[in-house]
Symmetry: C2
Subunit: 226 residues, 2 copies
DNA sequence: CGACTGCTTGATGTTGCTCAACGTGCGTGG
DNA sequence: CCACGCACGTTGAGCAACATCAAGCAGTCG
Protein backbone atom coordinates (compact mmCIF):
# COMPACT_ATOMS: atom_id res chain seq x y z
CA UNK A 1 0.00 0.00 0.00
CA UNK A 2 1.24 3.42 -0.94
CA UNK A 3 1.97 5.61 2.05
CA UNK A 4 -0.38 8.58 2.13
CA UNK A 5 0.72 12.01 3.24
CA UNK A 6 -2.39 13.87 4.15
CA UNK A 7 -0.54 16.90 5.46
CA UNK A 8 0.84 17.72 2.04
CA UNK A 9 -2.34 16.74 0.20
CA UNK A 10 -3.52 19.46 -2.14
CA UNK A 11 -7.08 18.14 -2.13
CA UNK A 12 -7.75 18.36 1.59
CA UNK A 13 -11.36 18.78 2.67
CA UNK A 14 -12.36 21.96 4.54
CA UNK A 15 -12.75 19.79 7.63
CA UNK A 16 -9.28 18.27 7.27
CA UNK A 17 -7.86 21.76 7.00
CA UNK A 18 -8.67 22.16 10.69
CA UNK A 19 -6.56 19.20 11.79
CA UNK A 20 -3.24 19.48 13.54
CA UNK A 21 -0.02 18.17 12.07
CA UNK A 22 -0.12 15.07 14.26
CA UNK A 23 -3.74 14.35 13.47
CA UNK A 24 -2.98 14.58 9.77
CA UNK A 25 -0.14 12.11 10.24
CA UNK A 26 -2.48 9.75 12.07
CA UNK A 27 -4.96 10.13 9.23
CA UNK A 28 -2.29 9.39 6.64
CA UNK A 29 -1.18 6.27 8.48
CA UNK A 30 -4.69 4.85 8.36
CA UNK A 31 -5.65 5.81 4.89
CA UNK A 32 -5.36 4.06 1.54
CA UNK A 33 -5.62 5.75 -1.81
CA UNK A 34 -7.15 3.80 -4.67
CA UNK A 35 -7.74 4.63 -8.34
CA UNK A 36 -10.92 3.70 -10.17
CA UNK A 37 -11.76 3.79 -13.87
CA UNK A 38 -15.15 4.76 -15.30
CA UNK A 39 -17.75 2.14 -14.43
CA UNK A 40 -15.74 0.59 -11.61
CA UNK A 41 -17.54 0.04 -8.33
CA UNK A 42 -16.11 1.87 -5.32
CA UNK A 43 -18.35 0.30 -2.74
CA UNK A 44 -21.51 -1.72 -2.82
CA UNK A 45 -24.85 -1.48 -1.14
CA UNK A 46 -25.24 -3.96 1.74
CA UNK A 47 -21.50 -4.45 2.16
CA UNK A 48 -20.01 -3.73 5.57
CA UNK A 49 -18.89 -0.16 5.81
CA UNK A 50 -15.53 -0.04 7.54
CA UNK A 51 -14.14 3.02 5.84
CA UNK A 52 -14.92 6.60 5.19
CA UNK A 53 -14.41 7.35 1.49
CA UNK A 54 -13.12 10.71 0.30
CA UNK A 55 -12.97 11.52 -3.40
CA UNK A 56 -9.81 13.41 -4.19
CA UNK A 57 -10.37 13.61 -7.91
CA UNK A 58 -12.99 12.46 -10.35
CA UNK A 59 -16.75 11.96 -10.41
CA UNK A 60 -18.95 9.33 -8.84
CA UNK A 61 -22.58 8.29 -8.87
CA UNK A 62 -24.30 7.22 -5.66
CA UNK A 63 -27.02 4.75 -6.42
CA UNK A 64 -29.06 1.96 -5.00
CA UNK A 65 -31.54 -0.68 -6.02
CA UNK A 66 -34.89 -0.88 -4.31
CA UNK A 67 -37.81 -3.01 -5.44
CA UNK A 68 -36.31 -4.03 -8.75
CA UNK A 69 -35.60 -0.58 -10.01
CA UNK A 70 -32.23 1.14 -10.07
CA UNK A 71 -32.16 4.67 -8.69
CA UNK A 72 -29.31 7.16 -8.78
CA UNK A 73 -29.35 9.35 -5.72
CA UNK A 74 -26.86 11.89 -6.85
CA UNK A 75 -23.75 12.56 -8.80
CA UNK A 76 -20.81 13.84 -6.82
CA UNK A 77 -17.73 15.62 -8.06
CA UNK A 78 -14.42 15.69 -6.19
CA UNK A 79 -13.46 16.86 -3.67
CA UNK A 80 -16.06 15.46 -1.30
CA UNK A 81 -16.74 12.90 1.32
CA UNK A 82 -18.68 10.08 -0.21
CA UNK A 83 -21.84 9.26 1.64
CA UNK A 84 -20.68 10.00 5.16
CA UNK A 85 -24.13 9.14 6.50
CA UNK A 86 -23.84 5.71 5.00
CA UNK A 87 -20.56 5.22 6.86
CA UNK A 88 -21.81 6.35 10.24
CA UNK A 89 -25.51 5.69 10.15
CA UNK A 90 -25.32 1.93 9.99
CA UNK A 91 -22.93 -0.99 9.87
CA UNK A 92 -23.65 -1.65 6.22
CA UNK A 93 -23.68 0.68 3.25
CA UNK A 94 -27.11 1.73 2.18
CA UNK A 95 -25.90 2.80 -1.21
CA UNK A 96 -23.43 1.84 -3.90
CA UNK A 97 -20.87 4.18 -5.39
CA UNK A 98 -19.57 3.82 -8.94
CA UNK A 99 -16.95 5.93 -10.69
CA UNK A 100 -18.19 7.63 -13.85
CA UNK A 101 -14.77 8.87 -14.85
CA UNK A 102 -11.23 8.19 -13.62
CA UNK A 103 -11.44 8.76 -9.92
CA UNK A 104 -9.07 8.57 -7.00
CA UNK A 105 -10.49 7.77 -3.60
CA UNK A 106 -8.98 7.83 -0.11
CA UNK A 107 -10.31 5.12 2.17
CA UNK A 108 -9.94 6.19 5.77
CA UNK A 109 -10.23 3.71 8.59
CA UNK A 110 -13.45 4.52 10.40
CA UNK A 111 -11.96 4.00 13.86
CA UNK A 112 -9.25 6.53 13.13
CA UNK A 113 -11.81 8.94 11.76
CA UNK A 114 -13.93 8.58 14.83
CA UNK A 115 -11.03 9.08 17.21
CA UNK A 116 -10.13 12.29 15.41
CA UNK A 117 -13.71 13.50 15.76
CA UNK A 118 -13.48 12.75 19.49
CA UNK A 119 -10.27 14.73 19.79
CA UNK A 120 -10.96 17.69 17.55
CA UNK A 121 -14.29 19.43 18.06
CA UNK A 122 -13.72 21.92 15.29
CA UNK A 123 -13.17 19.13 12.81
CA UNK A 124 -16.38 17.55 14.08
CA UNK A 125 -18.25 20.83 13.77
CA UNK A 126 -17.08 21.25 10.21
CA UNK A 127 -18.34 17.78 9.39
CA UNK A 128 -21.68 18.60 11.00
CA UNK A 129 -21.86 21.70 8.82
CA UNK A 130 -21.15 19.74 5.68
CA UNK A 131 -23.62 17.03 6.58
CA UNK A 132 -26.25 19.66 7.30
CA UNK A 133 -25.72 21.48 4.06
CA UNK A 134 -25.79 18.24 2.14
CA UNK A 135 -29.00 17.24 3.78
CA UNK A 136 -30.75 20.52 3.06
CA UNK A 137 -29.60 20.27 -0.52
CA UNK A 138 -30.96 16.78 -0.84
CA UNK A 139 -34.24 17.59 0.76
CA UNK A 140 -34.83 20.30 -1.72
CA UNK A 141 -33.89 18.04 -4.56
CA UNK A 142 -36.26 15.35 -3.39
CA UNK A 143 -39.17 17.63 -2.72
CA UNK A 144 -38.70 19.71 -5.82
CA UNK A 145 -38.37 16.68 -8.00
CA UNK A 146 -41.46 15.14 -6.51
CA UNK A 147 -43.62 18.04 -7.57
CA UNK A 148 -42.07 18.67 -10.93
CA UNK A 149 -42.90 16.93 -14.10
CA UNK A 150 -40.51 15.21 -16.39
CA UNK A 151 -39.56 18.12 -18.63
CA UNK A 152 -38.67 20.16 -15.56
CA UNK A 153 -36.51 17.42 -14.14
CA UNK A 154 -34.63 16.93 -17.36
CA UNK A 155 -34.05 20.67 -17.56
CA UNK A 156 -32.79 20.54 -13.97
CA UNK A 157 -30.38 17.79 -14.81
CA UNK A 158 -28.95 19.63 -17.79
CA UNK A 159 -28.49 22.77 -15.70
CA UNK A 160 -26.93 20.68 -12.94
CA UNK A 161 -24.26 19.35 -15.28
CA UNK A 162 -23.64 22.76 -16.80
CA UNK A 163 -23.40 24.68 -13.53
CA UNK A 164 -22.37 22.27 -10.81
CA UNK A 165 -20.14 19.92 -12.72
CA UNK A 166 -18.65 21.52 -15.83
CA UNK A 167 -19.13 25.27 -15.34
CA UNK A 168 -19.81 25.48 -19.03
CA UNK A 169 -22.80 25.53 -21.34
CA UNK A 170 -21.18 23.01 -23.65
CA UNK A 171 -20.15 19.65 -22.35
CA UNK A 172 -20.25 15.92 -22.96
CA UNK A 173 -22.74 14.02 -20.84
CA UNK A 174 -20.78 11.58 -18.69
CA UNK A 175 -23.78 9.26 -18.36
CA UNK A 176 -26.21 7.35 -20.54
CA UNK A 177 -29.88 8.20 -21.10
CA UNK A 178 -30.70 5.29 -18.84
CA UNK A 179 -28.62 6.88 -16.08
CA UNK A 180 -30.47 10.16 -16.47
CA UNK A 181 -33.69 8.21 -16.22
CA UNK A 182 -32.51 6.52 -13.02
CA UNK A 183 -31.43 9.86 -11.66
CA UNK A 184 -34.71 11.60 -12.34
CA UNK A 185 -37.03 8.67 -11.72
CA UNK A 186 -38.27 8.36 -15.28
CA UNK A 187 -37.63 5.83 -18.04
CA UNK A 188 -35.13 6.06 -20.87
CA UNK A 189 -37.77 6.56 -23.56
CA UNK A 190 -39.13 9.65 -21.85
CA UNK A 191 -35.65 11.07 -21.37
CA UNK A 192 -34.95 10.54 -25.02
CA UNK A 193 -38.20 12.15 -26.12
CA UNK A 194 -37.72 15.21 -23.93
CA UNK A 195 -34.13 15.70 -25.05
CA UNK A 196 -35.13 15.59 -28.69
CA UNK A 197 -38.00 17.96 -27.94
CA UNK A 198 -35.53 20.39 -26.39
CA UNK A 199 -33.33 19.92 -29.44
CA UNK A 200 -36.16 20.59 -31.88
CA UNK A 201 -37.18 23.67 -29.95
CA UNK A 202 -33.59 24.94 -30.21
CA UNK A 203 -33.19 24.98 -26.44
CA UNK A 204 -30.18 22.72 -26.61
CA UNK A 205 -27.81 21.46 -29.24
CA UNK A 206 -27.51 17.70 -29.07
CA UNK A 207 -25.29 15.21 -30.82
CA UNK A 208 -25.08 11.89 -29.05
CA UNK A 209 -23.72 12.84 -25.68
CA UNK A 210 -22.42 16.23 -26.70
CA UNK A 211 -24.74 18.85 -25.36
CA UNK A 212 -24.82 22.63 -25.71
CA UNK A 213 -27.25 24.90 -23.95
CA UNK A 214 -28.60 27.34 -26.54
CA UNK A 215 -31.41 29.04 -24.65
CA UNK A 216 -30.51 29.00 -21.00
CA UNK A 217 -33.20 31.38 -19.78
CA UNK A 218 -35.92 29.23 -21.32
CA UNK A 219 -34.34 26.13 -19.84
CA UNK A 220 -34.33 27.74 -16.41
CA UNK A 221 -37.95 28.67 -16.85
CA UNK A 222 -38.85 25.08 -17.69
CA UNK A 223 -36.87 23.89 -14.72
CA UNK A 224 -38.68 26.23 -12.35
CA UNK A 225 -42.20 26.09 -13.65
CA UNK A 226 -42.28 22.31 -13.56
CA UNK B 1 -38.03 32.94 31.44
CA UNK B 2 -38.19 29.72 33.39
CA UNK B 3 -34.79 28.45 34.43
CA UNK B 4 -34.05 25.16 32.72
CA UNK B 5 -32.20 22.35 34.50
CA UNK B 6 -30.87 20.12 31.79
CA UNK B 7 -28.96 17.90 34.16
CA UNK B 8 -32.11 16.65 35.80
CA UNK B 9 -34.11 16.50 32.57
CA UNK B 10 -35.76 13.15 32.05
CA UNK B 11 -36.03 13.70 28.31
CA UNK B 12 -32.34 14.18 27.55
CA UNK B 13 -31.19 13.25 24.07
CA UNK B 14 -28.64 10.43 23.67
CA UNK B 15 -26.12 13.10 22.74
CA UNK B 16 -26.83 15.21 25.81
CA UNK B 17 -26.32 12.11 27.94
CA UNK B 18 -22.63 12.37 27.07
CA UNK B 19 -22.22 15.87 28.46
CA UNK B 20 -20.47 16.69 31.71
CA UNK B 21 -22.20 18.29 34.65
CA UNK B 22 -20.76 21.68 33.85
CA UNK B 23 -21.67 21.43 30.17
CA UNK B 24 -25.25 20.59 31.12
CA UNK B 25 -25.34 23.63 33.36
CA UNK B 26 -24.07 25.77 30.52
CA UNK B 27 -26.75 24.28 28.28
CA UNK B 28 -29.45 24.97 30.86
CA UNK B 29 -28.36 28.57 31.21
CA UNK B 30 -28.78 29.15 27.50
CA UNK B 31 -31.94 27.27 26.91
CA UNK B 32 -35.59 28.23 27.00
CA UNK B 33 -38.48 25.84 27.22
CA UNK B 34 -41.70 26.75 25.42
CA UNK B 35 -45.07 25.03 25.16
CA UNK B 36 -47.06 24.87 21.93
CA UNK B 37 -50.61 23.78 21.30
CA UNK B 38 -51.76 21.86 18.22
CA UNK B 39 -51.52 24.02 15.13
CA UNK B 40 -49.11 26.53 16.66
CA UNK B 41 -46.03 27.40 14.68
CA UNK B 42 -42.69 26.61 16.32
CA UNK B 43 -40.51 28.23 13.72
CA UNK B 44 -41.03 29.50 10.23
CA UNK B 45 -39.32 28.96 6.93
CA UNK B 46 -37.06 31.88 5.93
CA UNK B 47 -36.78 33.22 9.49
CA UNK B 48 -33.30 33.59 10.93
CA UNK B 49 -32.25 30.45 12.74
CA UNK B 50 -30.54 31.41 15.98
CA UNK B 51 -31.56 28.40 18.03
CA UNK B 52 -31.39 24.67 18.01
CA UNK B 53 -34.83 23.26 18.80
CA UNK B 54 -35.26 20.06 20.77
CA UNK B 55 -38.69 18.48 21.25
CA UNK B 56 -39.07 17.15 24.76
CA UNK B 57 -42.62 16.01 24.37
CA UNK B 58 -45.24 16.05 21.67
CA UNK B 59 -45.38 15.75 17.90
CA UNK B 60 -44.42 18.14 15.15
CA UNK B 61 -44.67 18.41 11.40
CA UNK B 62 -41.77 19.78 9.37
CA UNK B 63 -43.03 21.43 6.24
CA UNK B 64 -42.25 24.00 3.64
CA UNK B 65 -43.83 25.79 0.73
CA UNK B 66 -42.19 25.68 -2.66
CA UNK B 67 -43.73 26.91 -5.90
CA UNK B 68 -47.18 27.45 -4.50
CA UNK B 69 -47.64 24.01 -3.10
CA UNK B 70 -47.35 23.04 0.55
CA UNK B 71 -45.23 19.98 1.28
CA UNK B 72 -44.78 18.17 4.56
CA UNK B 73 -41.32 16.73 4.86
CA UNK B 74 -41.85 14.55 7.82
CA UNK B 75 -43.63 14.12 11.10
CA UNK B 76 -41.43 13.92 14.15
CA UNK B 77 -42.27 12.57 17.58
CA UNK B 78 -40.45 13.60 20.75
CA UNK B 79 -37.77 13.22 21.83
CA UNK B 80 -35.75 14.55 18.92
CA UNK B 81 -33.74 17.45 17.64
CA UNK B 82 -35.83 19.41 15.22
CA UNK B 83 -34.21 19.97 11.89
CA UNK B 84 -30.62 20.24 13.03
CA UNK B 85 -29.48 20.66 9.43
CA UNK B 86 -31.69 23.66 9.09
CA UNK B 87 -30.00 25.21 12.13
CA UNK B 88 -26.44 24.59 10.98
CA UNK B 89 -26.68 24.47 7.24
CA UNK B 90 -27.68 28.06 6.70
CA UNK B 91 -28.47 31.32 8.44
CA UNK B 92 -32.17 30.98 7.77
CA UNK B 93 -34.53 28.10 8.32
CA UNK B 94 -35.32 26.16 5.22
CA UNK B 95 -38.41 24.65 6.77
CA UNK B 96 -41.26 25.48 9.08
CA UNK B 97 -42.21 23.45 12.11
CA UNK B 98 -45.76 23.26 13.45
CA UNK B 99 -47.01 21.38 16.50
CA UNK B 100 -49.70 18.80 15.76
CA UNK B 101 -50.42 18.09 19.40
CA UNK B 102 -49.39 19.74 22.66
CA UNK B 103 -45.66 19.98 22.43
CA UNK B 104 -42.88 21.29 24.60
CA UNK B 105 -39.73 22.51 22.91
CA UNK B 106 -36.33 23.56 24.27
CA UNK B 107 -34.70 26.36 22.32
CA UNK B 108 -30.95 26.22 22.76
CA UNK B 109 -28.75 29.13 21.83
CA UNK B 110 -26.77 28.08 18.78
CA UNK B 111 -23.53 29.65 19.99
CA UNK B 112 -23.70 27.65 23.20
CA UNK B 113 -24.49 24.53 21.26
CA UNK B 114 -21.54 25.09 18.97
CA UNK B 115 -19.14 25.74 21.80
CA UNK B 116 -20.18 22.48 23.43
CA UNK B 117 -19.55 20.66 20.16
CA UNK B 118 -16.08 22.21 20.09
CA UNK B 119 -15.39 21.06 23.63
CA UNK B 120 -16.91 17.61 23.65
CA UNK B 121 -16.03 15.36 20.73
CA UNK B 122 -18.20 12.51 21.91
CA UNK B 123 -21.23 14.77 21.96
CA UNK B 124 -20.31 15.86 18.45
CA UNK B 125 -19.89 12.28 17.31
CA UNK B 126 -23.28 11.35 18.68
CA UNK B 127 -24.81 14.24 16.75
CA UNK B 128 -23.07 13.08 13.62
CA UNK B 129 -24.53 9.63 14.18
CA UNK B 130 -28.02 11.00 14.57
CA UNK B 131 -27.70 13.26 11.56
CA UNK B 132 -26.44 10.34 9.52
CA UNK B 133 -29.24 8.03 10.54
CA UNK B 134 -31.79 10.71 9.85
CA UNK B 135 -30.35 11.34 6.45
CA UNK B 136 -30.37 7.68 5.45
CA UNK B 137 -33.93 7.44 6.63
CA UNK B 138 -34.95 10.42 4.59
CA UNK B 139 -33.17 9.27 1.49
CA UNK B 140 -35.05 6.05 1.56
CA UNK B 141 -38.30 7.86 2.10
CA UNK B 142 -37.69 10.14 -0.83
CA UNK B 143 -36.53 7.48 -3.21
CA UNK B 144 -39.13 4.94 -2.24
CA UNK B 145 -41.90 7.48 -2.46
CA UNK B 146 -40.74 8.60 -5.85
CA UNK B 147 -41.12 5.18 -7.38
CA UNK B 148 -44.29 4.16 -5.62
CA UNK B 149 -47.77 4.93 -6.68
CA UNK B 150 -50.38 6.57 -4.56
CA UNK B 151 -51.91 3.49 -2.97
CA UNK B 152 -48.48 2.37 -1.83
CA UNK B 153 -47.71 5.75 -0.32
CA UNK B 154 -50.96 5.90 1.59
CA UNK B 155 -50.31 2.37 2.89
CA UNK B 156 -46.84 3.53 3.94
CA UNK B 157 -48.28 6.45 5.81
CA UNK B 158 -50.77 4.31 7.70
CA UNK B 159 -48.03 1.87 8.67
CA UNK B 160 -45.83 4.78 9.68
CA UNK B 161 -48.40 6.07 12.14
CA UNK B 162 -49.12 2.60 13.47
CA UNK B 163 -45.49 1.54 13.95
CA UNK B 164 -43.41 4.64 14.39
CA UNK B 165 -45.82 6.90 16.20
CA UNK B 166 -48.48 4.98 18.08
CA UNK B 167 -47.16 1.42 18.33
CA UNK B 168 -50.70 0.24 17.83
CA UNK B 169 -52.94 -0.90 15.00
CA UNK B 170 -55.76 1.32 16.19
CA UNK B 171 -55.26 5.03 16.51
CA UNK B 172 -56.67 8.42 15.70
CA UNK B 173 -55.03 10.21 12.80
CA UNK B 174 -53.50 13.41 14.17
CA UNK B 175 -53.64 15.10 10.77
CA UNK B 176 -56.18 15.97 8.09
CA UNK B 177 -56.52 14.31 4.71
CA UNK B 178 -54.98 17.42 3.23
CA UNK B 179 -51.94 16.93 5.46
CA UNK B 180 -51.59 13.34 4.31
CA UNK B 181 -51.76 14.62 0.76
CA UNK B 182 -49.04 17.18 1.46
CA UNK B 183 -46.95 14.50 3.13
CA UNK B 184 -47.20 12.04 0.27
CA UNK B 185 -47.24 14.51 -2.58
CA UNK B 186 -50.77 13.81 -3.71
CA UNK B 187 -54.04 15.77 -3.46
CA UNK B 188 -56.74 15.40 -0.91
CA UNK B 189 -59.23 13.83 -3.31
CA UNK B 190 -56.87 10.97 -4.08
CA UNK B 191 -56.14 10.40 -0.41
CA UNK B 192 -59.83 10.26 0.31
CA UNK B 193 -60.51 7.85 -2.53
CA UNK B 194 -57.72 5.49 -1.53
CA UNK B 195 -58.73 5.48 2.11
CA UNK B 196 -62.31 4.60 1.25
CA UNK B 197 -61.02 1.92 -1.13
CA UNK B 198 -58.98 0.42 1.71
CA UNK B 199 -62.05 0.63 3.89
CA UNK B 200 -64.27 -1.09 1.35
CA UNK B 201 -61.69 -3.82 0.87
CA UNK B 202 -61.69 -4.39 4.64
CA UNK B 203 -57.99 -3.52 4.88
CA UNK B 204 -58.68 -0.80 7.42
CA UNK B 205 -61.52 0.28 9.61
CA UNK B 206 -62.20 3.96 9.17
CA UNK B 207 -64.48 6.39 10.93
CA UNK B 208 -63.50 10.01 10.42
CA UNK B 209 -59.97 10.09 11.80
CA UNK B 210 -60.23 6.89 13.78
CA UNK B 211 -58.33 4.22 11.96
CA UNK B 212 -57.81 0.53 12.63
CA UNK B 213 -55.59 -1.74 10.60
CA UNK B 214 -57.56 -4.91 9.86
CA UNK B 215 -55.32 -6.66 7.35
CA UNK B 216 -51.79 -5.65 8.09
CA UNK B 217 -50.06 -8.19 5.86
CA UNK B 218 -52.02 -6.99 2.84
CA UNK B 219 -51.28 -3.39 3.74
CA UNK B 220 -47.58 -4.19 3.93
CA UNK B 221 -47.78 -5.88 0.57
CA UNK B 222 -49.41 -2.83 -0.96
CA UNK B 223 -46.80 -0.62 0.66
CA UNK B 224 -43.96 -2.67 -0.76
CA UNK B 225 -45.23 -3.51 -4.20
CA UNK B 226 -46.03 0.08 -4.99
C1' DC C 1 -21.66 -11.37 -40.13
C1' DG C 2 -24.59 -11.78 -35.99
C1' DA C 3 -25.22 -10.47 -31.29
C1' DC C 4 -25.45 -6.75 -28.39
C1' DT C 5 -25.87 -2.13 -26.45
C1' DG C 6 -27.47 2.42 -26.58
C1' DC C 7 -30.81 5.33 -28.60
C1' DT C 8 -35.06 6.84 -30.92
C1' DT C 9 -39.92 6.85 -32.28
C1' DG C 10 -44.79 5.51 -32.40
C1' DA C 11 -49.11 3.39 -30.45
C1' DT C 12 -51.68 2.27 -26.40
C1' DG C 13 -53.34 1.93 -21.70
C1' DT C 14 -53.20 3.54 -16.92
C1' DT C 15 -52.60 6.65 -13.22
C1' DG C 16 -53.78 10.36 -10.93
C1' DC C 17 -54.62 15.51 -11.23
C1' DT C 18 -58.04 18.95 -11.95
C1' DC C 19 -62.47 20.67 -11.85
C1' DA C 20 -66.99 20.64 -10.13
C1' DA C 21 -70.61 19.66 -7.04
C1' DC C 22 -72.27 18.66 -2.57
C1' DG C 23 -72.44 17.57 2.53
C1' DT C 24 -70.64 18.63 7.20
C1' DG C 25 -69.01 20.94 11.29
C1' DC C 26 -67.00 25.14 13.23
C1' DG C 27 -66.28 29.84 14.31
C1' DT C 28 -67.42 34.75 13.39
C1' DG C 29 -70.12 38.60 13.14
C1' DG C 30 -74.51 40.59 12.48
C1' DC D 1 -79.79 33.06 17.50
C1' DC D 2 -79.05 32.54 12.56
C1' DA D 3 -76.43 33.48 8.31
C1' DC D 4 -72.33 33.22 6.32
C1' DG D 5 -67.74 31.93 5.15
C1' DC D 6 -64.37 28.48 5.51
C1' DA D 7 -61.80 24.19 6.11
C1' DC D 8 -62.60 19.50 5.66
C1' DG D 9 -64.29 15.35 3.43
C1' DT D 10 -66.44 12.65 -0.33
C1' DT D 11 -67.68 11.38 -5.10
C1' DG D 12 -67.87 11.63 -10.18
C1' DA D 13 -66.25 12.93 -14.99
C1' DG D 14 -62.73 14.26 -18.15
C1' DC D 15 -58.14 14.88 -19.51
C1' DA D 16 -53.03 15.26 -19.51
C1' DA D 17 -48.84 13.14 -18.40
C1' DC D 18 -46.31 9.05 -18.39
C1' DA D 19 -45.09 4.23 -18.35
C1' DT D 20 -45.21 0.35 -21.08
C1' DC D 21 -44.98 -2.28 -25.19
C1' DA D 22 -43.17 -2.82 -29.70
C1' DA D 23 -40.27 -2.04 -33.49
C1' DG D 24 -36.39 -0.29 -35.78
C1' DC D 25 -31.74 2.01 -36.38
C1' DA D 26 -26.72 2.91 -35.71
C1' DG D 27 -22.42 1.68 -33.79
C1' DT D 28 -19.31 -1.86 -31.71
C1' DC D 29 -17.17 -6.06 -30.63
C1' DG D 30 -16.25 -10.87 -31.01
Amino acid sequence: MKKTFCNSCEFKSPAAGLLTESELLELGDNCAEVEFGAGEIIFKQDALSTNVAYIKQGMVKIHFKGSGRERIMKIVKAPAYLCLPSAFGDKVNHFSATAIENTSVCFIDITTFRSIIYKNGRFAYQLILELSKGQIQNFHNCLNNAQKQNTGRVADTILFFAHEIYNSNAFTLPVSRQDIADLTGMNRESVSRILTDFHEDKIIGLNNRNLTILNESLLKQISEKG
